[in-house]
Amino acid sequence: MPSFGADMENGVLSEWLVQPGDSVNKGDIVAVIETQKGAIDMEVFQSGVIRTLLVEPGTRIPVGAAIADIDEGALQTPVILAAPPTASGKESPSQSAPRIKASPLARRLAERSAIPLSTLRGSGPQGAIIAADINTANTTNADIPIDVPATRPETLPVNVPLSTSQTGELSGMRQAIAAAMARSKREIPHYYLGTTIELQEASQWMEDYNRGKKPDQQLLLTALLHKAVALALASSPELNGYFIDGQLQLTTNIHLGMTISIRGGGLISPALHHADRDSLPELMNKMRDLTLRARRGGLRSSEMSDATITVTGMGDRGVETLYGVIYPPQVAIIGLGKPALRPWVVDGEVQPRLLINVSLAADHRVSDGRQGAKFLRTLNKLLQQPKLL
């Protein structure tokens, strides 16, 4: 059972997508794991043939436990699915079994009501099973006793509300965030830097770029900002990577954790793999796709585990300035404020300009303010030349 993040201790296997005898390639999605951060598509770490599935759906499994045996061809040895420190599955694998489309809320409700998802007909987008379908099933089966134990200590601590966004439903996620953030503040000596960057040029360039394009081909400022961060990191390697057990593991792979609010409470920061190598339209597509999957389900285990740095911000509904808390074992986090038209001195005159406050919180064990300041300067420079992004 792999870890999908520093704050994950266990997960509930909700569905196998392979059977004994199936051949799998590294990166294939083999199971759906219900975690504190929702249902995650688990990718396999090695190629081979599935010999035995050791765990039944519905079982809670601690990180590191064996869940399947894989025959790796010549080796003929049972292999345990365990977490590599930094998985970097970038391949886009083929799915070997049809996935039951269901919203995370629906999955939890179904689990609670002990209704197998496979028996339900989805009425959501593309036939996805949504919360309402489970309610319908519950009503239809009202006179059939459903085997739901009064207390189920082995399942996720969820109390699912139907129409209100109250606290019970996401308490699992709150616990995960609490653990990670408490560890961060306990262990990581943060230093904080902030600067104001002019986005006038970038925003004008983007407006020109977007003119006449269809909505799905347009860019948002957030894509430009993420790309610029990724490019700026190339010359500030000490901000990109991990600090684990006193060991520094910096990397040239730039996997930006993109912070997405899980509506109703909590957030999630899946990785935009190799964000520095994507063109702006590619990155924009990835960001849209990640946002959708974070809400609807279908995030992949590699996306959950291998961000090398996090970018956080609340978009155009955010605040002027935002200081992040580093997500361990990462060593830095970038905070994006809300871009706003404000007075700015240009050529000795005050003019209205689109400005953004960008902050950096970094691990002082790994880097110093001088290096952090250099990163912010580079970021500023890149954003003044938007066509080079």
Binding site: S103, L105, G124, P125, I130, S163, S165, N210, K214, P215, D216, Q218, L220, L221, T222, R263, G264, M287, R288, T291, L292, R295, R296, M314, G315, D316, R317, G318
Partner: protein, 86 residues
Amino acid sequence: MKRMELQTILYEELLNIAPEVEPSLVDADEDLREELDIDSMDFMILMVALGKRLGISIPDIDHHLLNSMNNLLNYLLDKQKITNAD
């Protein structure tokens, strides 16, 4: 397509961006983004999804017309008529 059908489609797509919102409880005349608490990314995702599902294109110069649930539905209704008439 009737207004009710469009509303059903809109509600379904809203589930993807604001799953916790009960669309029938949203004030349909109030500011859409305020009511749903959605940012430009969510709004873009919604426009792309509606455009694809209804086979229409929603240019951004029209975005100011889509500032409430009711205005959005009216817009989609008109747009469909135009598309069908073509």
